[in-house]
């Protein structure tokens, strides 16, 4: 789309740059705060000599579990993404391409949609009770399961869109050639939906990485994820502002990497449902 020829490119660029600064400055200011001493930050001076003390404290001090938290977040993010993708892709294919009665498809997807509206905190209390009953309280397994089911509706929705893009004739031709369902899924469907899988995987991972409420209620010190650890910095008797800033800076590294290498998948994933 082109706006009217009267559009003044200079003003437009100026406004866009202002908006970009509004996004970037808060992030950069906090990253910078991670390199400051508490005194320098509290004094409000603009110039400062960067120090690595906060990062050292956060990562390597004996009282800090941040590396454990980081590993927990990576494990939970990776496992819940994998399980979620497999379950959602198979289910999306099943509901779209197998002969389910229509009412069943409606109820299944309808429930997923309704479930998506529930505030996670309202479910967290029940998850907490159930996990304790089956002996999974304070384990990463509990967080993996919770994140998997939290992201399942979104993954079902997205994979449904991608699965419907697979030409029906292709699947029928493979059937005629005697392909069984696993072979059909692996050889025909998978390669076509691969970009969709990547997009969904990135979003699922990011949402799992970012989740705070559920991880807060299902974890303790040793199983805490990164967001839970960051919140702890703000809750102690004396707020460790600069360490919190350093931890915050470290926590957005995975997102930055994904933004740089996978931007087109992120955009595809986020915009998929809205425009199609």
């Amino acid at each position: 789309m082109t706006t009217s020829p009267r559009a003044r490119p200079l003003i437009v660029h100026a406004l866009l740059i202002a908006a970009a600064l509004l996004v970037l400055i808060p992030v950069l200011w906090v990253v910078a705060a991670g390199f400051r001493t508490q005194i320098s930050l509290l004094s409000g001076a603009f110039w400062f000599t960067p120090v690595l003390k906060n990062f050292n404290e956060v990562l390597f001090s004996k009282t800090s579990d941040f590396l454990v938290n980081y590993r927990n977040s990576l494990v939970v993010g990776t496992l819940s993404t994998l399980i979620c993708l497999v379950a959602a892709t198979l289910a999306a294919w099943s509901l779209n391409r197998m002969s389910w009665p229509r009412w069943f498809v409606h109820i299944f997807l309808g429930w997923a949609l309704v479930f998506h509206m529930f505030p996670p905190l309202a479910l967290a209390s029940a998850w907490f009770t159930i996990m304790r009953t089956v002996g999974l309280d304070n384990t990463l397994t509990a967080v993996v399961l919770a994140h998997t089911v939290l992201n399942l509706p979104m993954a079902l929705w997205l994979m449904g869109v991608f699965v419907r893009d697979v030409p029906l004739e292709l699947e029928e031709a493979a059937r005629l050639d005697g392909a069984t369902t696993p072979i059909l899924l692996w050889r025909i469907v998978m390669p076509i939906i691969a970009p969709g899988l990547v997009a969904t995987a990135i979003l699922t991972f990011v949402f799992s990485w970012n989740d705070f409420g559920v991880a807060l209620t299902l974890t303790m010190k040793q199983t805490a994820t990164v967001p839970v650890a960051i919140a702890k910095f703000a809750q102690d008797y004396e707020i460790l502002y600069t360490q919190m800033a350093a931890a915050a800076a470290l926590s957005i590294l995975p997102a930055l990497v994904l933004l740089i290498i996978g931007q087109r998948y992120i955009v595809a994933g986020l915009t998929q449902g809205a425009v199609k």
Partner: protein
């Protein structure tokens, strides 16, 4: 994925590729079996996950909500409370404040984000150079964890050394206690949420604008439409589906707000930023009121679904009117 044992057995059972054409009935029968088996196998992981972790918890919540639970761990004792927990909700001022603030938060935050996002998307389609760079920068907040967004703005809005008050003093005004005063706390939280999620709206609107057909604009220009007329008579009507979907996505998420409030204000000062999820967290986890907290969960789930369904129904009617 390696074929499993049952899959391998299945491969043998399938006739040679040439056979189906010779024996259509046998092939159809085979295919029917294959369908029935695999449609269940492929659906079962998601089905089991949803049954065990969404249906079961809901049943559990409802059952627990009918009791008063005392004690904790394995030694909790249950006393039948009937609907008393639900009756108590009506008199819970924290709960009432939570609902009111959540609704205010959702309306203003989502409204603000959509407006800002739409303006940015319009601006961005107007330029060709640097569009990708702008998009990259604008995507960043979407990927930042809510708790980090909270941490960022807790620093920036700090009364003593925050960048915002430094800027305010620079222009000659008195610094404000953004998060610590009941007058500005909720507005500050709404502002932070607008900062966090405007980029999401921007991204959806940009994709929507880029997919609009060109010829309508050419026609509008030939007819001598002004920029404003183009926007109100061409762009907005054609963007309505995208706008509605974005609104739905954001509204659902806004009702779940927890992370930012937890870190920025902790529901305070007073009850000025108390939101539903945070009230629930306090009652259930901090105060250990398992039975009452469960009743609150059920009530919140119920209300959220009603409110959102009403919003979507209104959306549907608006869509039908167009």
């Amino acid at each position: 994925m390696k074929p499993t044992a049952s899959a391998a057995a299945h491969v043998e059972a399938v006739p040679e590729p040439a056979a189906p054409r010779g024996l259509p009935i046998a092939a159809d029968f085979q295919r029917g079996l294959d369908e029935r088996l695999w449609r269940w196998l492929t659906l079962s992981p998601a089905l089991l996950l949803l049954l065990a972790l969404s249906v079961l918890p809901l049943v559990n919540l409802f059952a627990t909500s009918l009791f008063t639970v005392s004690g904790s761990g394995g030694h909790s004792s249950f006393a039948v409370a009937g609907l008393n927990n639900y009756r108590a909700l009506a008199g819970d001022t924290l709960f009432r404040a939570g609902i009111l603030n959540t609704v205010l938060f959702a309306l203003f935050a989502v409204g603000g984000q959509m407006l800002c996002g739409f303006v940015l998307a319009l601006l961005c389609t107007g330029v060709t150079r640097g569009r990708l760079l702008y998009r990259t920068i604008f995507i960043l907040p979407i990927l930042v964890p809510g708790i980090v967004v909270g941490a960022i703005w807790k620093l920036l809005l700090n009364f003593d050394f925050g960048l915002v008050n430094q800027a305010v003093e620079l222009v000659g005004f008195d610094p404000l206690n953004w998060l610590g005063s009941a007058n500005t706390a909720l507005a500050s939280v709404i502002f932070v949420d607008i900062w966090h999620w405007t980029p999401f709206c921007f991204l959806l609107f940009l994709a929507g604008l880029q997919s609009l057909p060109q010829d309508v604009y050419e026609a509008a220009q030939i007819d001598g439409a002004s920029g404003w007329q183009e926007l109100t008579y061409v762009t907005l009507p054609m963007m309505l589906p995208t706008i509605m979907v974005t609104f739905a996505f954001r509204l659902v998420l806004a009702f779940k707000v927890f992370d930012e409030v937890y870190l920025l204000t902790g529901g305070g000062p007073g009850t000025s930023t108390q939101v539903m999820s945070f009230t629930l967290y306090q009652r259930f986890f901090r105060e250990d009121q398992t039975g009452y907290g469960s009743a609150m969960s059920v009530a919140i789930i119920f209300m959220t679904c009603i409110l959102l369904s009403a919003a979507f129904a209104a959306r549907g009617r608006m869509g039908a009117a167009k």
